[in-house]
Amino acid sequence: MNNYQPVIGLEIHVELSTVSKMFCSCPADWFGKEPNTLTCPVCLGLPGALPVANRQAIEWVVKLGLAMRCGINMVSKFDRKHYFYPDLPKGFQISQYDVPFCHGGSYDLLDNKLEKLKTINIKRIHMEEDTGKLIHKNGKSYVDFNRCGVPLVEIVTEPDFENSTQVKQFLEELHTLVLYLNISDANMEEGSMRLEPNISIRKVQGSTLHVPSKKNITLNAVHGMWSDLPNYKVEVKNINSFKFAVQAIDYEIERQIEILKRGDIPPQETRGFDPNIHRTVSQRTKEEAHDYRYFPEPDIPPITLENSYVEGVKADLPELPQQKLRRYIKTYKLRYQDATILISDSKLFNFFEQVSGHLITGHKTEELKDENMYSMVANLIINKKISIDQPIDSFVAEAVKKLKPVETDEEELVRAIDWVINENANAVLNYKQGNINSIMFLVGQVMQKMKGKADAQLVRSKLEEALS
């Protein structure tokens, strides 16, 4: 039964690491600080206080939008989103409703040959403010407003994901992207990156199609499949790791298919992920959904961005992770796996690039000759064969020593091979009978005889020659 297809979209919140908060000048670096020490009339929502938008935060959301190939709204605005909760002092959150800073972007998931696997469409990226934090202790509840007003970016994708593997790849790459742009520490544990997948299931074949809504269904003549979206969706909250995102999605897919198989429709609801039981639990159904009563924030005039400003932000974008990945594979001939590991850790790739630069400028490339040299250097770094916690110079010296081809005394090698063949009749026989593995034993013996002063590849080919 392969006729159930998951439809998954993501909402991702990323806390920006600006110096000050979104709408006041309080420090935004709230994590681990004494409660309610980073507050002022604005972020406490005291009567009369007014918000003023943080320019840096707006620049950074534009930066993120451009990196995700979004269109930028040259005139944008903030809106008030109303709901009552003790950690929301104004009774509304300043967010963006119908004119976000960024809209209509896309992101390509690539396979290990750098071929496009899937394009994820980005619906919008907007700016909002974080809320305070509730702390429940000894049967009492406390509110800490330090986090209140910290700039928050929300990235909303189209429901283009088909499984948790794609979601995981996207999230990991987005995490890296955000770090490259230097706009957030994207720390999952501290909550600076939060994930809310929404999941539903559609049937894709057969005349017994069971899709809840009669309207909006269109049969796609080209693909011969129903291409509408299901008219329910389940949002999952409380996910603070990529692993949990995968677990929650996999659990939901299974749960919803079961309901559909019974002939029912899963209810539209918000569910929370419980990491202890690896399951989602119902939190709120559609009937309890909020009416946020959005309207334009009258305290902040609409924001007009100049073309030259957006072009400037674009020009200042750093090399993005996928660009770096391509360059490493094309220019340095790195293996996909190694390149992937390198590009997702700034400490590793910065070191790698310095070493590579050093190899070229110091003409070490001539000395090393091997076309896989960069690949081998990457390997040394990734597998920690040489410590990267040392100056580039000494790392390079050590690497050159390790990677330099060994000068082999060929006359001595011939003598050593003769000697080993004579001494190891059994192994020789095994090899001749077809046990290929025996060659490695013999190579080892020769290397030992040569006291390691021989090139292993050369030893092997000479041995094979002698035994043929």
Partner: protein
């Protein structure tokens, strides 16, 4: 008992001259106003809080002057409508919800007044949250009109107007969201300025309708009004809606001749509903202005009849949002302390912003607002300023409209269109009608307060004294 007054004028021109010449001290003046409050306020109820540190502040101002300091308002006592956040001084917004709220910070306007050397006399009464046109919605008792204790002083800046009118303060700051400075100024025979939206910072003023609130003041005369605006006017980094137009020394630009100035009378205002005596007096005021060389023409604001309806969609929407923070969690009392008018506006606003109704109400009202703005812009293509009666009626009796919210809302038909358009307007007393105060308002282009100050100042000089007696 004969009470000796050191000052017989509330004009800042006179007060500052005497202070500068060291004929009087700030302590002496402040004491006089505090004594007036003690003597009269039991009958007027203009103050919610009297600042018990006022005399200390006055002493400091005198010391500063002694040292040679020169603040524009150094030593001048001033009252503040109780929506101005004052650090360490209770700020109630006229509501029991905030009856114990002491702000930890000063509003920008308060900061600027203090920097200029003003002495805070106290906080004046108002319709709770500035919701009202009569002062009767205050949770701290109604304010009485000093010219007829049985009449309302107008609202919502009821206490500010009554305080200046009865000599309990030379200046009282207010807010004008839909006429809340001009209507009470007109009812109390004083000068009321609603500056351009964004001329004076709203930071620290308890918000009513955020896209309407104009931060102004009530004074004895036009000169004082212009002087105070040159202090409070500000391009405030804490208020992103303040305009990027430089503040000028408004009071120094008064006295220019106004011959050749073109004034517009709003056709739509001159019909039924306007009290005949007010209409007659307005005609006399026009004559005075013509005698000064002004040319008066009729203009039309085709959409102005929709102003009140538009106002009562947009403002309650913003009110419902702004009052959301009054939840009693961090400060103030719980929500059951809200009284009827605030609840009414919160409900109307919540309704019009609800999904499914937004387009029919809020969004449509925004479009009408745009049309009204265009009406004013078009009018200002052919005239330098617009003149109109401030109120269609003289002050009404306390209780008269209390149970008729709609009729109460209609008291503001001549004043609220200017808030929709964000233009400045200044109400100045004209000849009394029915032996009660009434005002004429001068309306200008955005950020062109200079023009209306100058015209109003010329009118004030030509008009002469107004023959009305205080009833206290």
């Amino acid at each position: 008992m004969q009470y000796y007054k050191i000052m017989n004028s509330n004009s800042l021109k006179v007060i500052l001259e005497k202070l500068e010449k060291r004929e009087i001290t700030s302590v002496e003046i402040t004491k006089q106003y505090l004594d007036e409050i003690k003597k009269k306020d039991s009958q007027i109820n203009a103050f919610i809080t009297v600042n018990d540190k006022a005399l200390n502040e006055a002493k400091l101002a005198d010391d500063k002057r002694q040292r040679g300091d020169k603040g524009v308002l150094l030593g001048v006592p001033i009252a503040l409508k109780d929506v101005y956040s004052t650090r360490g001084l209770k700020t109630t917004a006229g509501s029991r919800v905030l009856e114990n709220y002491i702000p930890p910070y000063d509003a920008t306007a308060v900061k600027k007044l203090k920097q200029a050397g003003a002495v805070i006399l106290g906080k004046t009464n108002l319709d709770a949250w500035a919701h009202g046109s009569s002062g009767e919605n205050s949770d701290f008792g109604v304010t009485h009109n000093p010219y007829d204790l049985k009449s309302t002083p107008g609202g919502s800046s009821s206490g500010s107007a009554a305080a200046v009118a009865s000599g309990m303060a030379p200046v009282a700051a207010g807010t004008d969201t839909g006429g809340s400075i001009r209507l009470p100024a007109s009812f109390c025979n004083v000068v009321g300025l609603k500056p351009t939206y964004g001329r004076v910072s709203r930071y620290g003023i308890i918000a009513m309708g955020s896209s309407f609130d104009s931060i102004g003041h009530i004074t004895q005369d036009v000169f004082s009004s212009a002087l105070v605006l040159s202090v409070t006017g500000e391009i405030d980094p804490n208020d992103g809606t303040t305009g990027k137009v430089a503040v000028t020394q408004y009071h120094k630009l008064l006295g220019k001749p106004i011959n050749g100035v073109k004034l517009g009378i709003i056709k739509e205002f001159m019909k039924e509903g306007l009290d005949s005596e007010i209409k007659k007096n307005f005609g006399k005021a026009c004559k005075t202005l013509e005698d000064l060389g002004c040319e008066i023409v009729e203009i039309s604001l085709p959409h102005v009849d929709y102003a009140t309806s538009t106002y009562y969609i947009l403002v309650p929407a913003e009110v419902s949002s702004n009052l959301g923070r009054m939840d009693g969690v961090r400060f103030g009392n719980s929500r059951d302390h809200f009284s009827a008018e605030a609840k009414r506006r919160v409900m109307i606003g919540t309704y019009t912003l609800s999904s499914g109704y937004y387009d029919a109400y809020y969004n449509k009202a925004l479009k009408v607002r745009r049309l009204i703005i265009n009406d004013f812009n078009n009018a200002f293509k052919s005239v330098d300023a617009i003149i109109a009666p401030t109120s269609p009626t003289p002050p009404f009796k306390l209780g008269e409209k209390l149970n008729e919210p709609l009729s109460m809302y209609l008291s503001d038909i001549y004043v609220c269109p200017m808030n929709l358009a964000g233009v400045p307007a200044l109400s100045v007393p004209m000849e009394p009608a029915h032996n009660l105060p009434c005002g004429i308002q001068f309306v200008g282009r955005q950020f062109d307060e200079n023009t209306i100050f100058n015209i109003a100042h010329a009118y004030e000089q030509a008009r002469g004294d107004i023959n009305l007696k205080l009833k206290i």
